[in-house]
């Protein structure tokens, strides 16, 4: 699975991209897994109301199922335009 991080999520975690083979499940389970990897992850995901998710470049919810071939991105609410 490819994980991507943008904006302050990227800054808090300390990297923009990584590959990982997390336990199968949904986005919420992935986040729970990530939060155990270190305080940088725990900090980035401390307030899920400020986190948005995309799976394979489509916006998705915390209950979306994800698999090993997916590209999963985490980022703050968008501020373009």
């Amino acid at each position: 699975m490819t994980l991507l991080y943008f904006a302050w999520v990227r800054q808090k975690i300390g990297k923009g991209e990584e590959r990982m083979a997390p336990p199968a499940g949904d986005v919420a389970a992935l986040i729970a897994h990530l939060k155990n990897l270190g305080p940088n992850y725990a900090d980035a995901f401390a307030d899920l109301s400020r986190i948005r998710v995309a799976i394979n470049q489509h916006h998705a919810g915390l209950d979306a199922k994800i698999g090993p071939d997916d590209e999963v991105a985490f980022f703050p609410p968008v501020t373009g335009g």
Binding site: F6, A7, P76, P77
Partner: protein, 148 residues
């Protein structure tokens, strides 16, 4: 429908973009929106980050949806990334149609959804301070008016 979606560091040429949409008279009406970096106290730089590929894909979906709602001959979206200064242009959305109201509505629709759906993030630099711009809930409210 002619569609052009570009994410780039460079500025754009409004004359050229509008001329491409109007063609030799295929469209009688072109509505355009340009967003500019506002002048604010101590703001020196606005830096735009985006999610490559998803940005183009998401804007492509918004534009396709606009094409199902209004009779358009073309839509152009250009969004800049990188470091911008107050007064600089950030974004262009232009929609062309034979019908004035369709052009206006489509332009506003794409702009509203771009604000709430396209994966861009703005970071402000004020003196030595950097901070990420907060998403505005009012933008979500504005976009809701297009829900069917």
């Amino acid at each position: 429908m002619k569609t052009s979606i570009r994410i780039q560091r460079e500025d754009f040429d409004l004359n050229r973009e509008v001329a491409a949409l109007a063609g030799d008279g295929e469209a009688g009406a072109v509505a355009s929106f340009t967003g500019h970096v506002r002048k604010e106290k101590d703001l020196s730089t606005l830096t735009l980050e985006h999610y490559p590929h998803m940005t183009e894909a998401e804007i492509g979906r918004l534009v396709a949806e606009a094409g199902t709602r209004w009779p358009l001959t073309g839509v152009t979206v250009v969004h800049r990334v990188g470091a911008l200064k107050p007064g600089d242009r950030i974004v262009l959305v232009a929609a062309a149609s034979q019908h004035r109201q369709a052009a206006f509505a489509a332009c506003e629709f794409v702009m509203d959804y771009l604000k709430t759906h396209a994966p861009f993030w703005k970071e402000e630099t004020r003196g030595h301070e950097h901070h990420w711009v907060e998403h505005r809930a009012s933008d979500d409210e504005t976009a809701k008016r297009w829900q069917k």
